[in-house]
């Protein structure tokens, strides 16, 4: 649990106007918490209001992360597609997001097509697991992700380019991106 001094330290990094507003709010909360005159039920109510606010704020932050992920992938994909400079750090950051969303899209795929596309873009022969009837889209993705993880950073970036561009435009992947966006918007809409 952070103490009051921790908050004050964080305030030092803010622009002056934001700092003034936050100082005012923190002073108010501090006063409220120290006010021994206030009735316990009123103090309870105020603290409950603060708790509600923080809970909703946390939910919104979570949905914004989802929105940011699909938006972020779109930004990286457009940069690669149109030949803009995209830093290695940005590409590296997109990799785990891509694999996570691809794993989510597993049920949408035709197994063989998924295996073909992943194998082709990663420069691998088709995986033998496709011959087994019980291999699922998820296991095919896990197999390729494992291979990908074993690559050097340079090879990862080189291969990710083709892999990402190919998979990104597939309707199976777009469906998951769309769902992420929709769920993000819905949560945000409920809040306001």
């Amino acid at each position: 649990m952070p103490n009051f001094n921790d908050f004050m330290c964080e305030l030092n990094g803010l622009p002056p106007d934001q700092r003034r507003v936050l100082e005012h709010i923190l002073e108010g909360i501090y006063t409220l918490a120290l006010d021994v005159e206030v009735l316990p039920e009123i103090r309870e109510k105020r603290l409950s209001e603060i708790d509600n606010y923080l809970t909703k704020k946390a939910q919104r932050s979570k949905s914004e992360v989802v929105i940011d992920e699909s938006e972020y992938l779109r930004f990286v994909r457009n940069s690669i597609q149109h030949g803009s400079n995209v830093s290695a750090e940005n590409v590296d950051k997109a990799m785990p997001i891509f694999w996570r969303l691809l794993a989510k899209s597993a049920p949408e795929w035709h197994r063989e097509h998924l295996d073909h596309l992943l194998s082709y873009t990663m420069g691998m022969p088709p995986s033998l697991m496709i011959q087994s009837d019980d291999s699922s889209g998820a296991s095919i993705i896990r197999h390729h992700q494992k291979v990908f993880k074993g690559l050097s950073p340079e090879d990862k970036r080189r291969i990710f380019r083709d892999l990402f561009l190919s998979i990104y435009i597939r309707p199976e992947f777009q469906q998951v991106l769309g769902k992420s966006k929709r769920s993000g918007s819905r949560e945000r809409g409920n809040e306001y």
């Binding site: 597609q81 035709h110 063989e112 097509h113 073909h116 596309l117 194998s119 082709y120 420069g123 691998m124 022969p125 088709p126 561009l165 190919s166 435009i169 597939r170």
Partner: protein, 271 residues
């Protein structure tokens, strides 16, 4: 022993001849012995390999594919006839010299091939009379530049090749046509019991855009990762310029030349 590869697609304008000619040229540069056979009555591989004067001189003293078809086709089914005597391939070949002492051989075509097709029964035939054991042992690669149709000529090519290279443009027509080729090959194998064992699809006139990428995905998903080349031949006007000069792309411009070089490396490994 030569690997016989047909460059084939029933769709026209996909770059079959450009690919065949440049392949012949680059394989020769790498030290391989190459024979390029023009199996298309439109004779584009002939036009890009021989000047008008050279073609006239060749016809005055030698033969073309039309003569080969006229004298020595060999039906392979339903009744295998007596094998006609092998042709002397040197009566057909034109020696296309390139940088230094390097050269590849070309068997030219002409419009008479089209006339021959009208007089030939439907076949099936192969080119064994022309590609005798001696010829096959002379070359490393025999490249058949096919016509954009499914005809007796295409049948001959498929019956005589161990591999086929399918150039395709990544658009909706290309996807349709290339998938159709898959059906043709399946039917061919079922009907004749023989056919190419190795297939490669290569994207030509390639543009790094969403629609071609999407079409490529569709082909990779359907054909599988081992049958689609990773190297792509980009759309580039230098190919037209090179063809007009009867030069290879690497002689004309280094950027597409380097790209084509990557394709040749993959080609050699693939077939």
């Amino acid at each position: 022993m030569a690997k016989t590869i047909s460059v084939i697609n029933m769709k026209g304008g996909v770059g079959k001849t450009t690919l065949s000619f440049n392949l012949a040229f680059e394989l020769t540069q790498r030290g391989h012995k190459v024979l390029l056979i023009d199996l298309d009555p439109q004779s584009n591989a002939t036009i890009v390999s021989l000047s008008d004067t050279e073609l006239a001189a060749h016809k005055a003293s030698k033969k073309t594919m039309a003569d080969a078809l006229m004298h020595s086709y060999r039906p392979i089914a339903p009744i295998r006839q007596i094998m006609p005597p092998p042709l002397n391939v040197s009566e057909f070949t034109f020696r296309r010299t390139q940088v230094g002492n390097a050269y590849f051989d070309v068997i030219p075509s002409d419009l008479n091939v089209s006339a021959m097709l009208r007089s030939l029964p439907l076949g099936p035939f192969d080119l064994a009379h022309l590609l005798s054991a001696q010829v096959v042992n002379t070359y490393d690669y025999i490249i058949l530049d096919c016509a954009p149709t499914y005809s007796t000529l295409t049948n001959m090519a498929l019956n005589s090749s161990e591999g086929i290279l399918i150039p395709m443009i990544a658009d909706s027509f290309g996807v349709w046509g290339t998938n159709l080729m898959k059906e043709v090959l399946k039917d061919h194998l079922a009907e004749f019991g023989t056919g190419p064992s190795r297939i490669g699809v290569v994207f030509t006139l390639w543009e790094q855009q969403v629609n071609p990428q999407s079409c490529m995905n569709s082909i990779v998903a359907n054909w599988g990762p081992t049958e689609v080349f990773r190297a792509k031949i980009s759309k580039n006007n230098w190919y037209k310029i090179a063809n007009g000069k009867r030069q290879s792309i690497s002689q004309t411009h280094s950027t597409p030349g380097n790209e084509f070089d990557q394709f040749v490396t993959e080609f050699v490994g693939h077939f």
